[in-house]
Amino acid sequence: MYAADGSRPWTFYAFAAFFALFVAFLYGPMVVIYVLSFQGPSGGMTFPLNGVSLHWFDALISQSRVGDIAGSFQRSIGLAVIVAVVTVLASVLAGLAFRRPFRGSAFAFYLAIASLIMPGLFVGLGIALTFRLLGLPTSWWASGLGAQLTWTLPFGLLIMFAVLGRFNRSYEEAAIDLGATNWQKLKEVTIPMLLPGIIGVALFGFTLSYDEIARTALAAGAKNTLPLEIWAMTTNVTSPTLYAVGAVTTIVSFVVIVVALTSIGAIQRRRSRSKT
């Protein structure tokens, strides 16, 4: 908004300064890490750069003394995919079910959402203890998966509530009116129309899982996920390999988000192509 003489109010500058600080805090340190990951073979963990090389990326892959980066990366991607799939299935179905109020639906909803306010570390601890009590071994794909779902399912459900809140039921009624069975209605109309929202839920589940620490830390068992492996490395690895890990994991996150957002964008553009 502009004042009558065209000058901006002081609030504009105050907020611009705050935003600049935010950007500097967010991206500044990251850029430092990415730059340092290209450190020369004889360089250390701080500036100056001692030449430029891909040496530390190479060290990362050959996994000699830096820990099980490749293994934990595979586990993390696998876990994130499972979490995304389960989150999508459960929250889409639950979201559809919640559209029609049933006895105890409000209670069920709050019961599901309440896990968002529970301290994550203790959720993980509780899961680990329960597994031990039951005599089951903790592992990333069982107790770890469960711990992460306590986090992603309520989020997925909330997103589906928002998505379905804007979804006009008359599309489904039109499908039924034209002779579709319930299954055809779901397959031909409901799911395709909700697809951008569903991709959003999947993306959310994936990224939440991919960098989750608090709930996973105590429930993941003997083999680490990537964030846990990195966490361990920060205490015992003293080479720029750590930075190379940071650079690679960021690229993966970035690619996932770009793919998801472009597909959502493409679907929506397709549906609202301007009139010609």
Binding site: S170, A174, A175, I176, D177, G179, E188, R270, R271
Partner: protein, 393 residues
């Protein structure tokens, strides 16, 4: 049109709503309503929002079930039957075209879910698109079409199953004025051409009168009047219908005397009217309602200082608003009691001696133009008169 599927098209499209009540929790949307819509007729359900007209439509379509009562199509009860077996098709308000499917696939949808192969269903869909002059747009998405084009796609999509009853929920409300007028003529033409039953829900009076054979005026889950479009307009049954359909002024007063089938009636404000009442026998002091068409009223200016002529069937007030409608001028007269009285004065008559806002005017009409309304004690008397007439036959 080709017979695309095994279902639909067969049998009569007579729709009977028999003593239907529909409750949603505590609220009663439709109360013991009965209505028969003849096969091949165009019926408009007209009423303000919340009067239950859409609920009736949705019950005929099978998207709701009556709480009590029966719905029959072609003589067969359809309560609980799936949509496919009813032979109905519905055109939704704002059309509900599937945004992710092309125009062609939208129209072909009903055939697709019946398992008809791609070439066959696309052929049939193309034929229908040609009928609505949209064959050029077959591969577009609905969002790329104008409102009027979308409406035609929705029509084609609904007609592809050869329904015997087409249900239209506010089909014109999403269009601008110009298209609304054009498309309502188009709907009427399509209905005549196909010869199937159309049930059309609207809250626009002129739309109902323009397209329908039968207009059903509803209020609060009941039918106030079901009659031909012409009768709804010229002979409203009661004050509600007269006021809602428009084109009428409602007069009321208490009976002072009776003579030769005419009741002398005095309004609260002292104006005196003559109501033709036929052979009704009315007690002095009973309340009477009548309607007078807006275009059957002469309006004369009362010059400042002059006394209005007065007499039977006149009313005096101040001109409140003037609206030139082209062929006539709508003159709203503010009566002393705050009620409005509207006269449609033909343009020639008006501009011979124009009025201005604030002018004192006298409106007059002839007693024979007054239609007695079925309100107040008349309701009983009218029933008695009907019984007498029946026994006299």
């Amino acid at each position: 049109m080709t017979q695309a599927t095994g279902s639909g098209a067969l049998g009569s499209g007579q729709v009977e709503v028999a003593g239907v009540t529909k409750r949603f929790g505590e609220t009663v949307a439709v109360k013991e309503l009965s209505l028969t819509i003849p096969h091949g007729s165009y019926c408009c359900l007209l009423g303000p929002s919340g009067c239950g007209k859409t609920t009736i439509l949705r019950m005929i379509a099978g998207h709701e079930n009556p709480t009590t009562g029966d719905i029959r199509i072609g003589g067969r009860s359809v309560v609980g039957l799936p949509q496919v077996e009813r032979g109905t098709a519905m055109m939704f308000q704002s059309y509900a075209l599937f945004p992710h499917r092309s125009v062609l696939d939208n129209v072909a949808f009903a055939l697709k879910v019946r398992g008809i192969g791609l070439p066959a269903r696309h052929n049939t869909a193309r034929e229908l698109l040609t009928k609505v002059q949209l064959e050029k747009f077959a591969n577009r998405l609905p969002a790329e079409l104008s409102g009027g084009q979308q409406q035609r796609v929705a029509l084609a999509r609904a007609l592809i199953t050869n329904p015997r009853v087409l249900l239209l929920d506010e089909p014109l409300s999403a269009l601008d004025e110009y298209l609304r007028l054009r498309m309502r003529g188009e709907l009427r033409r399509v209905q005549k051409e196909l010869g199937i039953t159309f049930v059309h829900v609207t809250h626009t009076q002129l739309e109902a009168i323009a397209v329908a054979d039968t207009v059903v005026v509803m209020a609060q889950g009941r039918i106030e009047q079901a009659a031909s479009a012409r009768d709804i307009f010229v002979a409203p049954r009661n004050a509600y219908v007269a006021r809602f359909v428009g084109g009428q002024n409602v007069l009321s007063g208490t009976v002072e005397s009776m003579m030769n089938g005419t009741a002398a009636v005095a309004s609260d404000k002292g104006a005196r009217f003559a109501f033709p009442v036929g052979d009704l026998r009315l007690v002095r002091g009973s309340k009477l309602y009548g309607s007078i068409r807006r275009d059957r009223i002469a309006v004369e200016k009362v010059l400042p200082g002059a006394k209005p002529a007065g007499g039977l069937n006149t009313i005096v007030g101040e001109v409140h608003t003037l609206e030139n409608q082209g062929s006539y001028v709508k003159v709203t007269v503010d009566l002393d009691n705050g009620e409005e009285f509207v006269a449609h004065v033909p343009d020639e008559a008006f501009f011979r001696s124009p009025l201005d806002i604030g002018d004192k005017v006298e409106a007059r009409w002839s007693a024979s133009d007054i239609k007695l309304l079925d309100d107040g004690p008349i309701a009983f008397d009218a029933a008695a008169a009907e019984a007498r007439a029946a026994s006299a036959d």
